[in-house]
Symmetry: C2
Subunit: 346 residues, 2 copies
């Protein structure tokens, strides 16, 4: 059976979509997974840290996420034992590979924010100069604080990144990883569909994924988020609870569900189908939300380092609040995107 011709601009497909689209999509993602794995090995693997190796790791994560997401959304059409066994393994793999990149992106975001907060007069990359600047007048202690805060974050997040790098290296050499790679290799040639899958339509499963997204968005405080400067994101900025802020969780959940919805659309309409710019915008806002929330949390956590100078702690406090402010800005941006989306869909 040939893959259905779908109108790439129309999200609601006229006719049923057969499971061939799913099988084709999973095979393509599995092939891409194996290709990037090969590329990763050829560019020196995780130990090299070269651009090629970083790109390959990113491509590996990208296809792992798409396979895992499709297994979840189209669960009823796939061999249950096989797909239930594979999903946690793919999640483990992409999680392990993502961590190193996440730490270096978080450090970059925090040092960028410290530079911005220090005003145009401060030289870029000042954390390296912390020692030198410490000799200036006491009046300039806030700048010294920013420099020391930068140096502290640099130390802590570089250490975390190095550990994540080793963990990724170890993971890629493990028998657990080889088992995942073998499963993906099988998937590249044969997708284990259920006996009744051939008669099934993919659209109800895709619609259910969209429904879960819409339900989750419905629980978000969008009215508040749409009101600029609502000061909600910083409400627990000084609370004693060191755990991630509970108010962020529903937004993180929507981010995951939006991703699943996007992948389901890729299955139905083909991966080349241009992404709806509003979905793209909403997704980017939620990525910003996640990154800012984690950066804010890293600043708060650095402030709990024993024996830091008050000026360092002050700078970390400003930085924490700045990133929580970015969390709030991301919620506003999401609300603006989603509003447009809702107007467009009748």
């Amino acid at each position: 059976m040939a893959q259905q011709q779908l109108d790439p601009t129309d999200p609601s497909t006229a006719g049923p979509v057969s499971c061939d689209a799913l099988a084709g999509y999973l095979r393509a993602q599995a092939t891409e997974f194996l290709r990037s794995l090969r590329q990763h090995r050829e560019t020196g693997g995780a130990s090299s840290g070269s651009d090629g190796s970083v790109d390959a790791a990113r491509a590996l994560r990208r296809s792992a996420r798409r396979i895992s997401g499709s297994l979840h959304t189209f669960r009823p059409l796939l061999d249950a034992d096989w797909s239930e066994g594979m999903r946690p393994e793919l999640a483990w793999l992409s999680g392990t590979l993502a961590r190193e990149h996440a730490y270096s992106a978080r450090l970059e975001r925090l040092l960028g924010a410290l530079n911005r907060l220090s005003g145009p007069g401060t030289p870029a990359g000042f954390p390296a100069q912390a020692g030198r600047e410490a000799s200036t007048e006491p009046k300039g202690n806030l700048t010294i604080g920013a420099a020391k805060a930068g140096a502290l974050l640099d130390r802590q997040l570089t250490l975390a990144r190095t550990r994540a790098h080793s963990a990724a290296l170890q993971a890629l050499g493990s028998s657990r990883f080889h088992a995942v790679a073998d499963s993906v290799a099988v998937l590249a040639s044969e997708v284990p569909l259920t006996p009744t899958a051939a008669m099934a339509d993919l659209r109800p499963s895709a619609a259910a994924a969209e429904g879960r997204l819409i339900d989750a968005v419905g629980t978000l405080p969008l009215l508040t988020a749409g009101h600029p400067y609502n000061a909600e994101a910083l409400v627990h900025g000084l609370s004693a609870d060191t755990a991630p802020q509970p108010q962020d969780a529903p937004w993180h959940q929507v981010r995951l569900l939006l991703r699943l919805h996007r992948y389901a659309r890729e299955v139905l309409h083909g991966e080349e189908c241009p992404v709806d710019p509003r979905l793209l915008g909403a997704g980017q806002a939620l990525n910003q939300h996640r990154d800012a929330a984690e950066a804010a949390s890293a600043a708060a956590s650095a402030a709990r380092t024993p024996r830091i100078a008050p000026a360092t702690a002050y700078a970390l406090g400003v930085l924490h609040a700045d990133q929580r402010h970015e969390v709030e800005a991301a919620r506003f941006a999401f609300q603006q995107c989603w509003q447009k989306e809702a107007v467009r869909t009748p």
Copy 2:
């Protein structure tokens, strides 16, 4: 000559407005000044701190600002030596009387913000409990930090307020003050107009005051301010400069010019004429801007207290950023009000 009948709803008066309107306004403000001064003495004066005394001091400042502003706007119609001599004295008086109230309002704003930032779980008025909370687990050091920051701000701003109170008390007993009161008493019976004032029209001077306001608003970065979450207000949040942020100055200037414009409208249309709600909104936004900027500055200044704990400094950093965030919010609110104003005026 009877005071012109003005349409209270129409800001552009059809015919010329004679200087009788100015003389009447100044006499009324001078009478109000003397009345509140009497009330202030009867309610126990500045030393009592009672509600009546606070209200009287506020009314005194209110009329002093209006007299001073009108002397400035309608300068060409008034005896130059007399009005040039009186303005700095009125500014000194209202400045001296305003300070005590400003410190207590600033403390209230900062403690309110600390409570909000500590989340719903923290009891209100926690600064008093700083000692008790210090005995909790180290994990809760951010809450301890908030409590200690509150106690520190309480100490510093209460001391500043007490000093301002003594200064106000001293000012009200000084011969300098009695000279101002005597000048105002003269004004209540006879306004020293220039010989040609009787033939003059008040409108050009009022229009010039409005022109100065519009010019000053034209220099504000309203395009940026109208874009929510532009993160401009915190740009110098960690700069070494301890002076008030230079980016705030044009906004403070517009605040003063908006006030002069409002008073000029009161002269032309009568004080009972309802204030244009958009001017009122813009003025409130600029008051918020000033209050938040000064609160942010107080938090930064408290963070420079020697030998404070890192947790205290961290909380003050969060607080500083929060108040700079409010500065940005106030600019956004002003932009929204002003936009409406511009649309209305053809």
